[in-house]
């Protein structure tokens, strides 16, 4: 990844409808050909479709090549520490119900150093969207083994080939309790757009894992799913509930067992929505707790509540 920095383009006027132009910020510093460019472009597209007020969009990330995302998007946002962006971003969602939170990061950021946070963010079902840009290698630190590197992958830390069993991202996400789990590929603009948009519209913790090639350190990693390179991009057909017999062959995204089966398919597997259910979000549950507490206090003022607390210490 190139280390040069650049300044923002000329400022667009305020209150224009969201477009790639208004959403563009610093020029991306990724290597030419990096899969992450396509993900950035799809994010612009999805925001264009959603037309949220610009000031209500938050683009957040941890550390890694992929995590540079926030600098390239003209929205509020932040670049945090390695692996810990999820709890930060979840708090934005919980602390500010008026904003839309998008969190980006790499496979190392999400599945290795941040693995514990991913599990808990998913089970708590905080309303936000998380995009994992999986290149199956550590890009920023220049080619070490990542938790999704396949056995045999030769990296600087495994010059004779990786030996540890890689994580299966879909299984991990399903098991964690995420309420929207999808998988896509950076070479498939249309598919990515559909997945990211669905994720954004989902109420709850939605996550899309996107295979995004690191041309610098893991060239050709995902060719098996690129038809142009002799691979096959197989998508998941979702159930239409139209009563037809062929519909029973389609995937029911509320069926966890079926989702796990899909997750276990041989590499490169299938792409699409693996799982999607409605479950109360942490945002709703916490808001309910507050509403009941406020009702109990009869909407007392902060000062009266505080005075009451001290009266009990007399």
């Amino acid at each position: 990844m190139s280390t040069e920095t650049s300044t923002a383009p000329a400022s667009p006027a305020v209150n224009l409808p969201l477009s790639k132009k208004t959403l563009t910020s610093d020029h991306p510093t990724w290597c030419p050909g990096c899969g992450d460019f396509a993900i950035l472009n799809v994010y612009y597209r999805v925001l264009e479709k959603l037309q949220y007020p610009q000031e209500s969009i938050v683009t957040f990330a941890g550390i890694g090549c992929s995590s540079r995302m926030p600098y390239f998007v003209n929205s509020h946002g932040g670049h945090y520490i390695h692996g810990r962006s999820l709890p930060f971003a979840a708090a934005i969602s919980l602390g500010r119900p008026d904003v839309h939170v998008f969190n980006f990061g790499g496979d190392g950021d999400g599945f290795s150093i941040g693995g514990n946070h991913l599990t808990h963010a998913a089970r708590k079902n905080t309303n936000m969207t998380y995009v994992i840009m999986d290149n199956s290698v550590y890009g920023l630190t220049k080619k070490q083994t990542s938790p999704t590197s396949p056995i045999g992958f030769k990296s600087k830390t495994d010059p004779t080939g990786a030996m540890d069993r890689p994580i299966n991202p879909m299984r991990t996400l399903l098991n964690s309790g995420a309420t929207f789990v999808a998988r896509s590929h950076a070479a498939q603009i249309g598919h990515m757009t559909e997945m990211m948009e669905r994720a954004a519209r989902h109420n709850g913790f939605s996550v899309v894992e996107i295979l995004s090639e690191c041309v610098e350190f893991y060239d050709g990693a995902f060719d098996a799913a690129v038809p142009r390179k002799g691979g096959a991009f197989q998508t998941i057909e979702l159930r239409k509930n139209d009563g037809t017999s062929e519909d029973t062959l389609r995937h029911d995204p509320t069926d966890e067992v079926a989702a796990f089966k899909l997750a276990g398919l041989e590499w490169p597997g299938k792409f699409g929505v693996f799982f999607e259910v409605k479950r109360p979000t942490k945002n709703e549950l916490e808001a309910g707790l507050v509403a009941r507490a406020r009702e109990k206090t009869k909407n007392a003022s902060d000062l009266d509540l505080l005075k009451g607390a001290f009266a009990r210490m007399r």
Binding site: T3, T5, T7, A8, S11, A13, V14, T22, S25, D26, Q54, E55, S56, I57, V58, P70, Y71, N74, S75, H76, G77, G78, H79, Y80, I81, R84, S85, L86, P87, F88, A90, A91, I92, L94, G95, R96, D98, V99, N116, H117, T119, H120, E286, L289, V290, R292, A293, R294, K296, T297, A300, D302, L303, L305, L306, K307, A309, F310, M313, R314
Partner: protein
């Protein structure tokens, strides 16, 4: 015969049956199921409701080496600074209580023991021994199926008689506290209380006691009694903190337990995180969102927060971080007191990261230190660490209720559109972030970042900018330093020795310096207590020069070079060779006598 607390004894008879005394130290020793702690609770409440008598009150930390459950209270009619070096009265419920605690009773003190369970050593003539059949007396009085349940209330009645406490108020307290468990429970408790009170203990003691009427303090508001963690909790709420996150650890946990429920009542939110790193990350997410947020822990948890704390310094977000210190390193002595996290608070994390570190001096101060932390965090856009400790966190003190209407702060995200020339990281001012939801009139939206950045927040590798930004982050903390008051000196303004302390050593040092300045060979001595540990307030170096010796007393190890953590900091800062170190790590708060002996020894050795 009994003149409790030799140094403070008042002692002329009020009438034929009552001897006057300014204060008394009572230690109760039994088993945890005997409700020892609740006797303390009743006495604390009573103290709080006795403004006319100006009763003050302090317990020792809830855990002290010794028997299965003990409670020590010092109560009286003047300012009480410590819970007392040794007990004037010991109430022993069992033989093991007697065995473990008899030496905590000062010679000439009173031993009250349950004659149903305890046989005192007949050869030990140091004390006035008063045997009372506490167990059978309770069973007889309360009857029913409760067996000896209520022994604690019997003893409370006994204490009420011995010290002429306000009966009506105590009966009302019992009704309030035990009445919620049903009428029968309250009736039984009152019967036990009356039986204890009716016991003619003066026949064994020779006389009863009464507290001197102290000069009533000019107190406008009622007295409250609570522990340090509770005072800190409500200080945070008064400071405007409505959001936070943490992971449980002793002795921090009780703060997060209360905040989890309390914040919802104020419309806020406290998250129990999966670990301390997630906790500080949540808290920073709230801070970025425009709220005033808190995270907290004890020693080991603070270690986990350090990387994120470095980010917060770099990104310049306001945050309150609490460390209720305990004995370390590692899991160490998790229920004992220590002050060994000072250097961690100052220098933990990586890179250059000037810190703000405050420390409360007692329970009451926990409330005010939280207010100050909130104010500094918001004004200087910086994390503020509060170093409390296990002793302050768990002991109970009585103090005047704060002026809540005056102190309550409201913090709301500032979403006013930012002008076209807005810079998130101006070189010539303090950074003030625009929280999400804020319109940027330039059309350019900012990124908060831990990468070195220019004034607009763009990453930069420029060495010149890095130096400038480091200076900017340093200068704002120096600006804060300049605004702090010069620390007050208690006692002699110059002379032989200045004893310097921080945190829970406040009381013992103050009482120790009082005694060093009086008695047969009085010393010219002063006491300086530091609530601001970083940045250090102005004027300290000059004050130090006025004394022959400066002794920093603290509860931590003397380290590789013979100086405790505060002493090391002061020596490095003021380069004054008169600064010496008094340290210990026995897991207990300083006794006044330890301060006196330690200071004298250092003076003698130099």
């Amino acid at each position: 015969m009994v003149s409790p607390n030799p140094s403070l004894a008042g002692g002329t008879s009020a009438d034929s049956t009552h001897q006057l005394l300014p204060d008394v130290v009572i230690r109760l020793a039994g088993n945890s199921q005997d409700g020892i702690q609740s006797i303390g609770g009743f006495l604390a409440r009573l103290a709080g409701r006795s403004e006319q008598e100006v009763m003050t009150f302090m317990t020792i930390p809830s855990t002290i080496s010794g028997g299965p459950s003990i409670f020590q209270v010092r109560m009286g009619s003047g300012e009480i600074l410590t819970s007392g070096d040794s007990a004037d009265f010991l109430v022993a419920f069992y033989q093991h209580s007697y065995d473990a605690h008899i030496n905590a009773l000062r010679p000439g003190g009173v031993l009250i023991y349950d004659s149903d369970h305890v046989k005192p050593n007949p050869d030990d003539k140091r004390f006035t021994n008063v045997g009372i059949a506490i167990t059978s007396g309770t069973i007889e009085a309360a009857g029913g199926t409760g067996k000896d349940k209520g022994k604690n209330i019997f003893v409370l009645g006994l204490i009420a008689r011995i010290f002429d406490l306000n009966l009506d108020k105590l009966r009302q307290l019992i009704q309030e506290r035990i009445g919620s468990k049903g009428d029968d429970a309250a009736r039984a408790a009152l019967l036990a209380f009356d039986a204890g009170y009716a016991h003619p203990v003066e026949n064994l003691l020779g006389h009863l006691y009464r507290f001197t009427t102290g000069t009533p303090q000019q107190q406008v508001r009622p007295t409250v009694t609570t522990d340090g963690n509770t005072a800190l909790t409500y200080g945070l709420i008064a400071a405007g903190v409505r959001y936070g996150a943490a992971y449980p650890i002793t002795p921090w946990s009780s703060i997060m337990e209360v905040l989890r429920t309390e914040f919802t009542r104020y419309g806020g939110l406290f998250i129990q995180a999966e670990d301390e790193i997630a906790a500080i990350s949540h808290a920073l997410g709230f801070a970025y969102s425009g709220h005033l947020a808190v995270t907290g822990s004890s020693g080991p948890g603070l270690s986990l927060k350090m990387e994120a704390l470095g980010w917060a310094g770099m990104a310049e977000l306001p945050l309150i971080v609490i460390n209720v210190q305990r004995g370390g390193p590692s899991t160490g002595m998790p229920t004992s007191v220590e002050q060994s996290d000072l250097l961690q608070a100052l220098y933990g994390s990586h890179g250059d990261n000037p810190r703000v570190v405050l420390s409360p001096k007692n329970v009451e101060d926990c409330f005010y230190i939280a207010l100050e932390a909130g104010r500094i965090a918001l004004e200087y856009r910086t994390p503020v660490i509060i170093l409390s400790d296990q002793a302050i966190a768990t002991r109970i003190e009585a103090f005047e209720e704060p002026d809540l209407a005056k102190h309550l702060v409201q913090v709301k995200p500032d979403l006013t559109p930012r002008p076209a020339d807005f810079k998130p990281y101006p070189l010539d001012g303090i950074s003030r972030h625009a929280p999400p939801g804020t319109k940027m009139l330039s059309g350019k939206y900012p990124t908060v970042t831990g990468l070195e950045h220019d004034e607009l927040g763009h990453p930069t590798g420029s060495p010149v900018l890095h130096a400038k930004m480091n200076a900017k982050r340093r200068e704002k903390i120096k600006q804060l330093a300049a605004s702090l008051p010069v620390p007050e000196v208690y006692g002699d303004e110059s002379g032989e020795v200045l004893v310097v302390g921080w945190g829970c050593t406040y009381g013992p040092i103050r009482e120790g310096v009082m005694r060093l300045r009086s008695g047969d060979a009085p010393l010219q001595a002063g006491h300086m207590h530091l609530r601001h540990l970083s940045p250090l307030p102005p004027g300290i170096g000059e004050i130090f020069k006025r004394y022959k010796h400066v002794v920093a007393a603290e509860i931590n190890d003397e380290g590789l070079y013979g100086y405790g953590q505060l002493a090391s900091l002061l020596r490095a800062t003021y380069a004054n060779p008169a600064i010496r170190s008094l340290c210990k790590t026995d897991g207990l708060v300083y006794k006044v006598s330890e301060i006196i002996a330690g200071v004298k020894k250092i003076i003698a050795a130099v």
